[in-house]
């Protein structure tokens, strides 16, 4: 069965530190990849997505992610985090075939301290 693994469940950083959140998926076919973010008390919203083309994609608020097909990975990065980045981050994979359901990872809670 297809699955999405997020390696870090909780991450604590100080402001201005660099961030990298890992995401790996288990599916050998064509995929579309997403990172969603859920700020405290808010609904899930899209951070960035990869469909095709340049494997380095840029999203909102200075986030970027790199698709490495050989490693089945789609890691999220930000060079310098801010307190306002405190949120839960979810990696998701859209599996082709069938009705294209989106499979989510377990999420990573990020806490950024001033």
């Amino acid at each position: 069965a297809q699955s999405v693994s997020q390696h870090n469940h909780h991450v604590i950083l100080s402001e201005a530190a660099s961030l990298e959140l890992g995401c790996n998926y288990s599916y050998g076919g064509t995929v579309n990849l997403f990172w969603y973010v859920q700020y405290p008390g808010q609904h899930l919203q899209l951070l960035l997505k990869y469909f095709s083309g340049d494997p380095l994609v840029k999203g909102i608020k200075g986030f970027e992610a790199e698709f490495i097909k050989s490693k089945f990975s789609f890691n999220l990065r930000k060079p310098s985090v801010q307190w306002s980045d405190t949120a839960e981050y979810f990696c998701a994979v859209n599996v082709s075939g069938g009705y294209n359901k989106l499979i989510f990872g377990a999420g990573t809670r990020l806490a950024v301290h001033p």
């Binding site: 999405v4 969603y36 609904h43 899930l44 082709s96 294209n100 359901k101 989106l102 989510f104």
Partner: protein, 112 residues
């Protein structure tokens, strides 16, 4: 902007009660989804619908059913609520087949 509205933000029900969770989207999307979100487990797909009156089971459909009588509305039904269905329920819609999901704010259900 796409708006996905879930009718109830917080519900408290007793074991054995029937529960309806309503979701409405205003963007004429074909695809609608119900997920439950639990700490450490992420979002798990309960059911999805790709058209009116069409539905497909997700990964954890047991104990749930759904209804899609109109394109804009997708309801999740718990026929007989149990304590292990205490969770946050998220509705989402999607226009294109591979496009992004737009989420509602969630319905937090507590079953006593």
């Amino acid at each position: 902007d796409v708006k996905v509205t879930q009718s109830s933000r917080y519900l408290v029900k007793r074991t054995g009660e029937k529960v309806f969770l309503e979701c409405v989207q205003d963007m004429d999307h074909e695809n609608m989804f119900w997920y439950r979100q639990d700490p450490g487990l992420g979002l798990r797909l309960i059911y999805f619908s790709y058209d009116v009156k069409m539905k497909e089971k997700g990964d954890i459909p047991e104990g749930y059913s759904v209804s899609r009588e109109k394109k804009e509305r997708f309801s999740l039904i718990l026929e007989s609520a149990s304590t292990n269905q205490t969770s946050m329920y998220l509705c989402a819609s999607r226009g294109a087949v591979t496009g992004e999901l737009f989420f509602g704010e969630g319905s937090r259900l507590t079953v006593l």
